[in-house]
């Protein structure tokens, strides 16, 4: 309707994912995308026409729009268009905070919008003139202190989660407030972002864990195992990732882990990932967990797609790692070394 074109790659997309037991939706986004905006425009037109005669129609317009938003929110939450599947305990904690803020802000939303709509409906003041009231100290005090109290609560309640996510423990810091070096990890790897892929270098778990991961991150060794655009670990592993970039800022985004960290040129940023759940089903099939880049890094920013595989146990992971190692030693060593020039991406310089 808007553009003419031939490609139909996106047609036939899966609709919203239905959650078992959820009540049926009022409408399906996929089917209503085209007519719904027009229908809503029509309703706005009707509200305007009615308002020419009845001024209170404006309350209906406000009410309708605000109700629509509340409805969309509820519908999305129910239909799975919401927080992605959670892959770790810390992700559950983040979701808990999210829903706490959602609940508190919803109260304020309903309160303020309710009052606003009421003022559109309220009867004219007696005598047609409103009282000349300039303010009220008590009210000002109340609506200063109540939000302040709630906000301070929100500020405090999030502190432990943030500290856990960034691995802060008072004491020795590995790098300016990030992971303390003493925090044990089961798996160590570097993730190096570059235009436009993620390069993973795994420390071989047969070797003893290096004392200084920062030093290890800066010095590739022959026994390291390489992978591109694939993050592997096993369920229950604590994974220390050393995040780096060779060119511009990228941001390593793992939606299921509620994990996101920019990679900063010139820095190696340590991060810890707790892998509490696996995405391998009992029958061996894999649910897709994707890696995305969240910081604009050039024209192909949208293409820095990768995948996460959390194996069911360490053995399954080691199988993968050893396969990877075998195929790696087949290739010439130089091909695996970092960084390799990528001529095709430069063609138009």
């Amino acid at each position: 309707m808007i553009t003419e074109g031939t490609s139909t790659k996106v047609s036939g997309l899966p609709g919203t994912v239905e959650i078992a037991g959820a009540p049926p939706y009022l409408f399906e986004w996929s089917e209503s995308a085209h007519w719904l905006p027009l229908a809503i425009t029509g309703l706005a037109l009707i509200a305007w026409i009615v308002s020419l005669r009845f001024k209170r129609a404006w309350a209906a317009l406000f009410g309708f729009t605000l109700a629509l938003m509340a409805l969309w929110t509820l519908q999305s939450a129910r239909s799975g268009l919401w927080l992605p599947e959670s892959a770790s305990l810390i992700a559950d904690e983040v979701d808990g905070l999210f829903h706490l803020v959602m609940a508190l802000t919803s109260i304020f939303y309903l309160l303020t919008q309710g009052v606003l709509i009421w003022t559109l409906l309220q009867p004219a003041p007696p005598g047609g003139r409103a009282a000349r009231v300039h303010g009220n100290h008590l009210l000002e005090l109340v609506w200063f202190t109540v939000p302040t109290g709630l906000l301070v609560y929100i500020a405090l309640v999030q502190l432990p989660t943030w500290a856990k996510m960034k691995g802060q423990v008072p004491g020795a810091y590995l790098a300016a407030g990030y992971q303390p070096a003493s925090d044990p990890a089961d798996l160590l790897l570097t993730v190096t972002g570059r235009q436009w892929e993620w390069r993973m270098r795994y420390h071989s778990p047969d070797q003893p864990m290096p004392v200084n991961p920062l030093f290890w991150a800066a010095t590739p060794a022959a026994e390291d195992i390489h992978a591109v655009n694939e993050l592997h670990a096993w369920q229950g592993a604590k994974v220390r990732m050393m995040l780096r970039t060779t060119d511009v800022i990228h941001s390593f985004f793992l939606p299921q882990f509620r994990f996101k960290q920019d990679m900063l040129p010139g820095k190696t940023i340590p991060a810890l990932l707790h892998t509490d759940r696996s995405n391998i089903e009992a029958d061996g099939t894999e649910r897709v967990w994707e890696i995305a880049c969240a910081e604009l890094c050039g024209g192909n920013h949208y293409r820095m797609r990768g995948k996460v595989v959390i194996h069911r146990d360490k053995k399954e992971f080691m199988d993968w790692l050893n396969r990877q190692k075998a195929s790696q030693s087949e290739r010439k060593e130089s091909a695996a070394a970092l960084p390799t020039p990528k001529p095709e991406a430069r063609e138009n310089q």
Partner: protein, 595 residues
């Protein structure tokens, strides 16, 4: 529209001095207004192209390619009639740059700041009329550079309005104008940096002028605490600009120098490796840019909302026929928003690699800044409570502002919760937030203010019915366009993606993306109603007398439109601006003793 100098006998400066290089604050205000409306069209067009791409990532642009001049050169053969990913990045970069630096800021501070400050404080003109004229004319090189950059080698800047190094700042290799970091970060980015330097200088000149004018040229009796909130807000905004712009200017010059002269302010000691091209050693720090940029750009978001808050605070009482509730809390909360606004910039950098302990500090300040925002909202609602509302187009837009600002403020709290921000940072949630505060708040305030002060500017009224129709359509369609962005963001949909359908977890969201695109197109068309109303009313609007709304502030004591010099006699102010309602003989008492 009558000749602005008609009442000033014996002083005829001629066409060029009156309409083009004018030093009259009202004419400069109108120049800003007309330019902003034009830029709004340009920025809106860019936004629709962005939305088309995200909603229909795999379809050819077809007819559009031929309709829009210059578009064809950005549709390479290899993309089969689709725009290239690079062009897409240019579109959203330029959309944001135009909207922020050439629409919202100039419309609020340039157009209304210029037009209203002297009139509302009872002055004859600004303190520095020539500086004022210069500040307007500095905007045009900015616009020219931004638009010209689409046609230079590599195209316009495509590194986002935030222009993070090293993508943006990589030095151009000797003798070339193409950046090794990205095709669209070469000459175009240099143009962008220069454009921002012009826009920034323009704002800075304006702000010095406003501060001086408010401090020195107030009419007798106009104490600071009798100033209308519009003046307060513009005054505070001017202070914000004066303090925040110098660091931005420095940052822009540093990036320009990195790019053109090969300095290394933003290049880390180890340098950077772009494919086969190595920059050599650096010695700087890419994060420095983010600190400098957000030290300006966070206050800048308040520059883009405070004047809107001020104008809404002046419109609500007039149509509620009731005093503004809590004048002093309103002033104090604006001042504290401005003050706190300087210590929250790090909330844009929670995931940047900044020390996470620093993030906690910025989080606390950010959470606190929601308090004055809440206080303002409650005072607006209390102003409306028990009042006798008149549903003018100006009033509806002002009420739309209050309603939508609540949503923008509440979504801010999600992002201020650092663990939650980890997930929603750089997703569509942020895009939703900024559009609730900038489109659905600032722009509604601007529409309302334009309806409200139009009679004073042109001596005619805009059509109320068309204005209300425009409001109704804009209100619902803008919500359809921007509300679902929050839902996408919660699902993890990153912003600035050329083709989200590559990702399995984003595919279920694509129908929502289309819904937003179609709503956006309808929304774009609805804005033509406003433009038509604005331009046709210049000639066809009902004639307005001096005070068509029965308002108290000083500008309504001057003729519509006010002559050169504004007031026949200097007005003497005897009371505050919000004496509405009550049981007196009149339902309002102007700020001067005699009407």
């Amino acid at each position: 529209m009558s000749h602005p100098n008609a009442l000033h006998a014996g002083h005829h400066p001629g066409f060029v001095r009156t309409y083009i290089f004018s030093t009259d604050h009202k004419m400069i205000g109108l120049q800003y207004l007309f330019s902003s409306l034009f830029f709004l069209l340009v920025g809106g067009g860019l936004a629709l192209l962005v939305r088309l791409q995200v909603g229909y990532p795999n379809e050819s642009l077809g007819l559009l390619t031929r309709l829009i001049p210059g578009l064809a050169r950005h549709i390479p053969e290899s993309w089969g009639g689709r725009m290239s990913p690079e062009f897409y990045t240019m579109l959203f970069t330029m959309h944001a740059s135009v909207m922020i630096f050439l629409v919202i800021i100039p419309w609020l501070t340039g157009a209304f700041g210029n037009f209203l400050i002297p009139l509302m404080i009872g002055a004859r003109d600004m303190a520095f009329p020539v500086l004022n004229m210069l500040s307007y004319w500095f905007m045009w090189p900015a616009f020219g550079l931004l638009m010209a950059s689409f046609f230079v080698d590599g195209g316009a800047s495509g590194v986002g309005w935030t222009a993070y190094p090293t993508l943006s700042s990589a030095a151009l290799p000797d003798g070339t104008l193409a950046s090794p970091a990205a095709r669209h970060a070469g000459l175009g980015q240099t143009f962008w940096l220069c454009a921002l330097l012009f826009a920034g200088s323009s704002s800075l000149m304006g702000s010095i002028n406003y501060i001086t004018t408010v401090l020195h040229l107030r009419a007798p009796g106009m104490s600071l605490l009798r100033m209308p909130l519009t003046v307060w807000s513009l005054f505070i905004t001017a202070i914000l600009q004066a303090v925040a712009l110098p660091p931005l200017t420095v940052a822009l010059i540093m990036q320009l120098s990195d790019k053109v002269f090969g300095t290394v302010f933003f290049l880390p000691p180890g340098g950077a490796q772009f494919g086969a091209w190595s920059t050599g050693a650096g010695g700087g720090q890419p994060l420095l840019w983010q600190h400098l940029f957000w030290f300006y750009s966070h206050p800048a978001v308040y520059i883009m909302i405070l004047p809107a808050m001020g104008m809404v605070s002046d419109i609500l009482p007039v149509f509620a026929r009731k005093p503004l509730f809590g004048y002093r809390p309103m002033v104090y909360s604006m001042a504290s928003i401005a003050g706190l606004g300087f210590i929250v910039w790090g909330h844009h950098m929670f995931q940047s690699g900044m020390d996470p302990r620093l993030g906690t500090g910025f989080m606390l300040a950010t959470i606190l800044i929601a308090v004055p925002s809440a206080v303002k909202t409650f005072n607006w609602l209390a102003t409306l409570w028990g009042s006798d509302i008149r549903f003018s187009a100006a009033m509806l837009n002002a009420m739309g502002f209050v309603s939508m600002f609540v949503i923008g403020g509440l979504s801010g709290i999600f992002m201020a919760v650092t663990p939650v921000d980890v997930h929603i940072h750089d997703t569509y949630f942020i895009v939703g937030h900024i559009h609730y505060v900038l489109f659905l708040s600032s722009l509604f305030a601007l529409y309302g203010a334009t309806h409200f002060w139009y009679p004073k500017m042109f001596g005619r009224m805009m059509s109320e019915n068309v204005g209300r129709l425009h409001f109704a359509l804009t209100f619902v369609l803008a919500n359809c366009t921007f509300y679902p962005m929050h839902i996408l963001g919660i699902g993890g949909h990153p912003r600035r993606y050329y083709d989200p359908t590559l990702y399995e977890f984003l595919q279920p969201m694509q129908s929502l993306n289309r819904f937003m695109t179609i709503s956006a197109i309808l929304l774009g068309f609805a804005q033509l109603l406003f433009l038509a109303n604005f331009f046709l009313s210049l000639f066809l609007g009902k004639r307005a007398d001096a005070n068509p709304w029965g308002a108290n502030t000083l500008e309504w004591q001057a003729p519509s439109p006010p002559p050169h010099g504004n007031f026949a006699l200097p007005p003497v102010v005897v009371r505050g601006p919000y004496e509405y309602g009550g049981d007196g003989p009149q339902d309002h008492q102007p700020q001067t003793a005699s009407a």
